[in-house]
Every structure is written in C-alpha cells, then in structure tokens.
C-alpha cells in the first residue's frame, strides 16, 4: 500500500515535469516565432526573412530555393 502510493506519487511528479517541459517548449516556440517583433535592428533580419519568404533553417545548400541557378558572379 505504502509502496504503491510512493510509486504513484513518483509517477505523478514525472508527468508533472513532462507537462512543464512541454509547456516550456511551447513557450520557447512562441517566443522565437515572435522574434521578428524585436525592436530596432535586432528583429530586422527576421522581418526581412519573413517578407522575402527565406528559409533561414536550411542546413545544406540544396535546401535553399533556386540553388541550381547559383553561378559565379560576373566581374565588374
């Protein structure tokens, strides 16, 4: 009986920690999604990315739209 209660209490604590973790991820996600609202130049790059529809998360060049059209720049 005593052990059962202790085990149930431990499980409840684990689930509470999970719920807090999930809430923290959701809050972090929300905060990052609002980073474009940062004042001055801090949010400027992010606002420009949203406006130009740029994917700043691309890991490799093949994930960037139009990569196959990249060519050497012409000389001045």
């Amino acid at each position: 009986m005593g052990y059962g209660l202790w085990a149930m209490g431990a499980r409840v604590r684990q689930l509470a920690r999970l719920a807090i973790g999930v809430l923290a991820i959701a809050a972090l996600g929300f905060a990052v999604s609002q980073a474009g609202r940062l004042p001055w130049v801090l949010g400027e790059a992010i606002r420009a990315n949203v406006q130009a529809d740029l994917d700043a998360t691309a890991m490799f060049y093949t994930e960037v739209d139009g990569w196959d059209e990249w060519a050497p720049s012409k000389t001045r």
């Binding site: 980073a35 740029l54 700043a56 960037v64």
Partner: protein, 435 residues
C-alpha cells in the same frame, strides 16, 4: 559515432553492420528517386497562425512515409539482430516526435529566425527522456547511428564536385583556403591549449565552426565516432551562434560601410548554416546575397573531403595505440567507417555519372527528393539522440566551459582570417572585382 548497436552475429558484416545498412538504405532511396518510383516526399507544411495549415492534405502522405521508413529501418534492425516488430512499435512514436519537430521548425516566424528541426528534435527528446524517461517499448527504434549514417549517404548525393569548378576562383579561395586552416588551428588549440580530453569533441566543434554547422558536425561526428553528447553539444552551440551571427553580421557590415560584396563573402565563409548565410547575405542586397550563397555552397562541398580525411586520420592515428607501429592496410580497412564509402560513392555517382547523363535539371529533381529523405533521417536521429541523452551527462561535457571557449576562439580566428581572404579575393586585389 560510437556504436551502441547489439553485437553482430556470425553472418557477413555486409548484412549485420550499421555502416553497410546505411549504404543499402541510402542506395535504395537514391534508386527510388532516380527511377522515379517516388515523385514527392511528404513533409509538414509551412504555417503562421493556423495549425491546421501544417497538415492540410498531408496526413495520409505522412502516415505512408512513416510506414515506409518503419518498414525499411525495421528490416535493417532485424538483420542487425533486433526485432522487426518491436522496432516498428517504437518507430511510430519516434516518427511522431520527428513530425512535431518539423511542425515547430516550419512556423513562419521560427523558420525566419533560423531555429531548425534539429534543435526542436533534440529538445523534444531531451524533455521526454529527462522527465518521464524514455519508455522501454520505444528503445528498440532508437537507432541514431543508423539514421545518421543513412542520412549522410543521402547527403553525399548532394555534394556535386562538378559544380565547384563552375563557381569561380574567388569563392574557392575564400572557402577552401580558410576552412582547413581553421580546422587545424581549432584542433590544435582544443587539444593542446585547452587540453580538452576528447579529440572527437574538438574535431566536431571545429568542423561545425569552419565548414557548415550542423551538417558538418553530423558528418565528422560519425567519421570520428564521437559520443552522442558531443554531437548534441556542438549542434546546440552552432545553432545558437548561427542565429546571433545572422542578425549581427549584416548589421555590423552596414554600420562600418564595408563593401557589400566583400561583406557577403565574409558572411558566406563564417556563418555556419546555409539558410542563415542566404538570409544574412540578402540583407546586403541581391548581388551580395548571391556571392554569400556561392561561397557557402563551395564550403558545403568541402564537407565530403573533411569527413573522409577525419575518418582516415582517426583510423590511422587517433585510434592507434600509443607506441605501436602504423596499422596495416587490413586493420585500417577493418576499422574504417564504411558508410563513408557510401557517402563518397553517392557524391561521385551524382557528380560524374548522373549529371553528365541525366542533365542538371533531372538531377536537381532527384536531389529534391533525396534531400527530403535525408532531412527525415537526420530528424529521426536527433530525436533518438535526445531520447538517449541525460542532461547531467551533457553538462559534464561542457567541462568548465572549455568547449564554448574553443568555439568562441575558433570562430574569432575564422572571422579574422575569412575577412582577410574576402578582401583579397573579392576586393579586387587577387582577382577582378565581381558584381
């Protein structure tokens, strides 16, 4: 990365080792894309405020993708001594967490801020494993090594050596001269000055800093058999600093009135992730954005050479017991991470066989598919790593802040050296100035 897989049976290693299975799975998916057996790889849609937009008309396709990936990875798991059924049972939960990671990364604001799926996948896995603990039924599906190596074989297809020859000497000068110097400097600094005990941690941070962030960290971690915690630490640091550099570098370049083309080359050579380079370069103008992208693309291609060199160096030097002679060729072959052969083979196949025979446009279509498959495998790997990681162990890796010191000193060295190279190459000193 260190192999935690169950011991192989007496069957040939071609059928029992994770490295070879990565080659078979990567090869299968490349074949599926080349022969057009699959014409699109489903993904989570982009969304802003409406959560439903992320999954609109995609649920069935995502379920089929999950089923397909579960089947082929379960086949590999079975051949490597695991259970086909138990792997599948766990895989669906793993896939669900991967979908959730992509869902978070594809939100318009998050996507623009550059916080990609790797970050969310690690975080989701860490939260589960460090609160309720990773459930036993999920563990058979946690084959991070297999997912990473399969993703790397697919990544090899994206390294088109023939393209670098067309991209011009100034970009080659910036990307290929500085990168090896920074890797060498950081490796010596980390092991000799900071005395970081794990050379694999040092080389993973060095590659992430000097080549191309997360993708380089993954490739070099696998080549040097780094621990999962070491990869997690390197990826976490590179993701945070990439976002900071994406915001601060264009701001600084404009503030001091630097030539935008030189500034763009500087960004291309120093900001770790390609998406962040394109975004930061675009802040300096269209031509500058183009220069930044091309420099980064050339640097991306270097990842194959770096991963191969690290694998050879590790097998012949680091893993060699002190005081013993250089290992024989057979021993080198035995220790060599075989998935690297798939990685290099895929690159050579695409660069010198498929591009000349199918043409650029067809290969671009194939790479759209293989890069999507690769993204799913990397995402599954990061969720698995998170689920297998303990935050206390991660904190011990931080080791008094020495890895962060290594990153900061290495990145500062990289910034200075790349700035000099960018001035020489794009400032009209060594080559004609470019638009």
């Amino acid at each position: 990365m260190q192999n935690d897989a169950p011991p192989a049976t007496r069957r040939p290693t071609l059928l029992t080792s994770e490295d070879w299975w990565a080659i078979w799975l990567g090869g299968l998916l490349i074949a599926v894309a080349v022969f057009e057996l699959v014409t699109a790889v489903p993904g989570v849609g982009r969304w802003t405020g409406d959560v439903g937009a992320a999954f609109e008309n995609r649920m069935l396709a995502l379920a089929l993708l999950g089923l397909g990936l579960a089947l082929i990875t379960a086949l590999a798991a079975r051949a490597m001594g695991g259970s086909f059924i138990l792997h599948q049972a766990g895989f669906f939960a793993l896939f669900l967490l991967a979908v959730l990671s992509y869902f978070l990364a594809n939100q318009t604001g998050i996507r623009a801020a550059g916080v990609g799926y790797a970050f969310w996948a690690l975080l989701l896995g860490l939260v589960v494993s460090n609160t309720v603990g990773t459930p036993g039924w999920l563990k058979p599906a946690l084959r991070s090594e297999l997912y990473i190596k399969t993703g790397l074989v697919l990544l090899g297809a994206e390294i088109l050596f023939n393209r670098i020859l067309n991209l011009g000497p100034p970009g080659l000068f910036v990307a290929w001269l500085v990168t090896p110097i920074v890797i060498f400097f950081m490796y010596r600094f980390g092991t000799r000055v900071l005395k970081i005990a794990s050379p694999s941690l040092v080389i993973v941070i060095a590659a992430a800093t000097s080549v191309c962030g997360v993708s380089a960290a993954i490739a070099v971690a696998a080549a040097a058999r780094a621990k999962k915690d070491e990869l997690t630490l390197a990826v976490g640091m590179t993701l945070i600093f990439t976002v900071a550099m994406m915001i601060l570098m264009p701001m600084g370049i404009r503030a001091i009135g630097m030539d935008p083309i030189v500034g763009a080359a500087w960004i291309g050579g120093t900001v770790d992730a390609t998406g962040a380079v394109v975004a930061a370069g675009a802040m300096l103008g269209e031509d500058a954005g183009h220069v930044a992208a091309v420099v980064k693309m050339i640097q991306n291609i270097l990842i194959g050479v770096v991963a191969f060199s690290v694998a050879v160096y590790w097998v012949t030097t680091i893993e060699k017991k002190s005081g013993t002679a250089r290992p024989a060729i057979t021993e080198i072959w035995t220790r060599f991470p075989k998935f690297i052969l798939g990685f290099i083979g895929a690159s050579l196949l695409f660069s010198f066989v498929l591009v000349p025979t199918l043409g650029d446009e067809a290969v671009t279509g194939v790479l759209d598919l293989t890069s999507d498959f690769r993204g799913w495998f990397f995402c599954l790997a990061f969720v698995s790593i998170g689920l297998e990681s303990n935050i206390r162990d991660l904190l011990t890796q931080v080791g008094g802040g020495r890895p962060i010191q290594l990153y900061l000193v290495g990145q500062t060295f990289n910034l200075v050296l790349t700035l000099v190279a960018a001035y020489l190459a794009f400032g009209g000193i060594l080559f004609d100035p470019v638009l």
